[in-house]
Amino acid sequence: MVLELRAEEITAIIRQEIESYKEELKMESVGTVLQVGDCIARIYGLDQCKASELLEFPHGVYGIALNLEEDTVGAILLGDASEIKEGMTVKCTGQVISVPVGDALVGRVVNALGEPIDGKGPILADKRRPIEGRAPNVVQRQPVKEPLQTGIKAIDSMIPIGRGQRELIIGDRQTGKTAICIDTIINQRSEYEAGNPVYCIYVAIGQKQSTVLGVMETLQKYGAMDYTTIVAATASDPAPMQYIAPFSGCAMGEEFRDTGRHALVIYDDLWKHAVAYRQVSLLLRRPPGREAFPGDIFNLHSRLLERAAKLSNELGGGSLTALPIVETQAGDFSAYIPTNVISITDGQIYLESDLFYAGIRPAVNAGLSVSRVGGNAQNKAMKKVAGSLRLDLAQYRELAAFTKFGSELDKATQAQLNRGERLLEILKQPQYRPMPVEQQVSIIYIANQGYLDDVPVNRVKDFEQGFLQYLKEKYSRVLEQFRVSKELTAEVSNTLNEAVVEFKKNFR
């Protein structure tokens, strides 16, 4: 775009800007820094200061006033605090903190203030939005009804996520929490290509820089950065930046929601966010509560997650889906933050390390995971096949627990166990390989119908792959029809039955 910039052009632009610059002299409220350290400043004066107002420090550093006391103000510093010294002058700005929003952010990596950190030049956004905003009220919303396809069979079938829903992903470290979110982002590629994109915002809070880089490279590799923004507040960023990062990401998502589009925001993870907020609160001398978290930690997360919504048709019908992640410590789901976020969200996906090491990946615990929006967020075909899948799996788990030791089983029990094993097998899915919903339904359908019962368990994966390939080659018309109508009509199921019989003849 920029071919050559001549010096006189720059001078002309600057001259023009200076000429159009007007200023008014106005009384500004000021205070003095009494104490500064750990990204916290205590300021004397500032008697006009309002709660969560943006404060201007010298050297271009900004802060947010969090504590208003009798004659001091407690503020968090956003940016390099090393230049700030005791006795410096602080000004009120009369504004709250805002971030740039809109299409200019798509495909970028930004910090918690919306400043680019990917070296691709400035962000030319013409609109800004305060990071804290009111959630839509009852009248402005409508029930969640459209599915947000994750492309993961175990989730789309049993724990469906709808647009505008808040679904928690919870589990120990190294159980694939981030992997599920990345797959979900990659799966939105088809929506993007169909011209109805779901804009994704990945908020990394307290993650390693290398992890964030890894996520970015993966998304680039699968062409997912075309509709994704990464908001990074890494472990090396100060706690105040980690504290505001999810709010910034949410504000960016809200812009899409309020302009009638769809957005998905992933908070990775809220446990570290709570820890950052705990640090800030304790340094501001707010009283500690359970596990030393401040008293308003519940409100902090609930006001963040309440902003995820499906808007009414009068307001454009946009949606903002939230996928918060919470890391548990040694499987302790009853710790403070996990229970808080479980009670705020519309359901949760439990990931367990035992399942993960047993080779069941994604390691979703189907018994404990729920989606409170449920079937409303599934298309008709999926609803049909998922019902019996859930039931079969539940029966399998019950039987499997009983028959661990016994050897003599009656035929019906044996058949039930067989079916269960094969269902578990088809729910396994490799990473970065999200599956379109029509293929998911096809494979679950034939498994439900018992066509897999005579396939050896270790060959089920091969069978699935081969069969889907076969469908694509021979019955692409039916698949296409199925994709559009999203219904499991008699015609479609007959075709599937036919196809599987044909395929089995050649499968050895």
């Binding site: 800007e17 200076i18 500004e28 013409d126």
Partner: protein, 182 residues
Amino acid sequence: MIPTRIINRYINALLDIAAARNITADVEQELRLVHQLLQENPDLLNMLLHPKISRLRKKKLLDEVLGKTVSAPVRNFLHLLVEKKREGIIPYVGEEFKKAADRLRGIIHATVKSAMELSAEHRQKLQTVMEKMTRSTVRIAFEIDAALLGGLQVYIGNGILDGSIQGRLNRLQKYLLERNVS
């Protein structure tokens, strides 16, 4: 850090008494005397602050040193501070009382910073303008700060009116940085 919050509690109480008895000016004068005394005799202050000296002895000492020069309210005030173990704020009460008394009288303190010495004519003009603006008597302290380059900076209370060249340059810089020039 001066513990202004604590000082103000005590000062306001003393000011209430002084105002009720119409002896504000006397109290102010006496507190200034106390302040002067402590500055000239650092040992006296050290004794007052010493934790091993009993409160009774400190009070006696105060009586002996000040004798009849201070009125009953000021004497009781100092005794109260000793009694409440707030001897540490005694060095600040003179200055703070003056500020509080001025506030009551409707006198505002302001600081004007300029890059170079202002002429008497300019000072007079500033005085009238600021008194008109605040609708009260203003006492201005003039300071010189070459870093301002030119113009004036006016500090009133917690407010600042920045008309200096340096301040305007800073604002222009910020404006230019915020513009999206493509």
